[in-house]
Point group: C2
Chain length 333, copies 2
Amino acid sequence: MAKRPTIHDVAAAAGVSRGTVSRVLNDDRYVSPAAHAAVRRAIAETGYIVNRNARSLVTQRTGSVVMVLSEPHEKVFEDPNYSTTIRTAIRRLGERDVSLVIMLAGDDGDRARVVHYVRGGHADGVLLMSTHAGDPLVDELESLRIPAVACGAVIGKENVIPYAAADDREGARQMARYLVGQGRRKIATITGPMDTPGGIQRLEGFADVLGRKASKKLIEHGDWTQLSGESAMARLLERTPDLDAVFVASDLMAAGALSTLRAAGRRVPDDVAVGGFDDSSVAATTHPPLTTIRQPLAEVAEETVRLLLALIDGGGPVEPVILPTRLIVRESA
Amino acid sequence: MAKRPTIHDVAAAAGVSRGTVSRVLNDDRYVSPAAHAAVRRAIAETGYIVNRNARSLVTQRTGSVVMVLSEPHEKVFEDPNYSTTIRTAIRRLGERDVSLVIMLAGDDGDRARVVHYVRGGHADGVLLMSTHAGDPLVDELESLRIPAVACGAVIGKENVIPYAAADDREGARQMARYLVGQGRRKIATITGPMDTPGGIQRLEGFADVLGRKASKKLIEHGDWTQLSGESAMARLLERTPDLDAVFVASDLMAAGALSTLRAAGRRVPDDVAVGGFDDSSVAATTHPPLTTIRQPLAEVAEETVRLLLALIDGGGPVEPVILPTRLIVRESA
DNA sequence: TTTCAGTCTGTGAACGCTCCCAGACGTTCC
DNA sequence: GGAACGTCTGGGAGCGTTCACAGACTGAAA
């Protein structure tokens, strides 16, 4: 295999010096049109591609960003949230010639690897996914002073790690208001884990609307999985058999709740109305199809990436971004 | 921020030369125990982390691998196949201190970016995901002579790009035999796209068992989506109303087929038996739960990574790996 | 004419590492 | 005693860039 052309070869082909080629490659100032054209032609002729390692060695910039997945759960990518964010990140970063490295941070070993990677200066920024409250990784990254953003708030670090997220609280309010507006009287909720922003804020939004009616008796917690939705629904039914609606904090858990309701002989929405959250792909395929809250996942992903790039470019302080949700009425409520 | 320690600092702290530190860091031969200990201690004291850029600059190795996703479909990560492979790849590569860069290759622009990246020497190897038949990227990578493997065969390149895959054909035979063994007489099939290995080989396995009974009338094609399963099932029912079984080449399409069957008033499995493929998460949650073929996804992923590492390490020729499938009997057949 | 600012170019010096070579030590063997 | 060999070490050279600086050339202003 022939050696790859270097900046020297390009300079020779264009009849200029390395410096001029470098200037064309980078800021492009102070280069005569003639030189510019000659260099461009030489690059095309030689098939020159800049060597990032050599560049990084002197610039201390790597041209890559690392996405850190804290969720230890095996099927994590199947979450549409991840799916969308990863694709969006790859695309948007790619446009800027920044590549995306993915790392796991499920256990301490993984976490150490991430810290080592970042400390080694191998990335210009960090994109945090589903980082849980109290994750030690956040403190470590903070002390390394590397640009970092999160997709969805990092609980307890909202003012430290900028983030983009859907308006979970208002989304929950929308659903709660809708259920109330439909004349439902005894409205329960199945929340997500209480160490996740979605878990907390969707419950808060629910409580905002229901007020004192949101009694402990009507609240159960799940862990986002379908199975947890099933069992939470079973507990609710046992405790409050006369409930006539339930707001479930994710569509997948709502699908589980539907199974339990069906098994218990309750008709949906006649006996019990069910509201989901996410508007994920399962929502349209349950029986009956789920009335749910749509999150602007793609926009959240876009904004997250934008924040990170802004931070890397050093464009001053960066504000969190909260994007609006929307009620999608189907048949379950 | 204090400057990061370099190999010089470590050498000074250990009272040896750069060369000795480098030897400890790399092959470790010809280093006295005393020097070795001193260097190890100095590394710990200084918090030294090797600068990959500087290393790559001279070794021409990057310590990273790029995973190329050819599937243009938006929800691609939700496919458990991807999910598992990505996680496995990150984990196994991480153990060897190799990082994983993910790139898209959905359109020509993406593809050009991948080629540029690889030509630029930014990766030591390429891991191809769901590359379609005739994808020009394969030829380009081939001509660049970069180590490349695929997860699932690349049609028409089986002898060029090593791969690991489940035994799609035998899996389809298992299901077909099972359906025949259950006394089903008129067995139809819904295949995947005929430019994917799963599409082709699962049909071939089906035909292996059914022989002449696998008439054109009993074959319909889908594109792996649930919707395509629904419409393919509808076409089959219209053409052959008296069919009593259908082998669907993916669980998601099978879920679609179930909807259509229910809507048409057929009972499953009483009137029509339905067999899926994949044993993905939807399989257990359909009504009724799907009888399906389980693929050893995790092992396929493991093997794919193993092949790539072997290829990068230059361990001679590398053979494709085919892993066995298994029939999972639930209620739909 | 001189001076000055602005534009444009080339070159040496890093960046932090690995590779290679030379040489200093032992041993062992003739 | 010296040759031959294996072990261990240090340091120069080079990987392909960018950056800073010095200098050359312009044209306009004094």
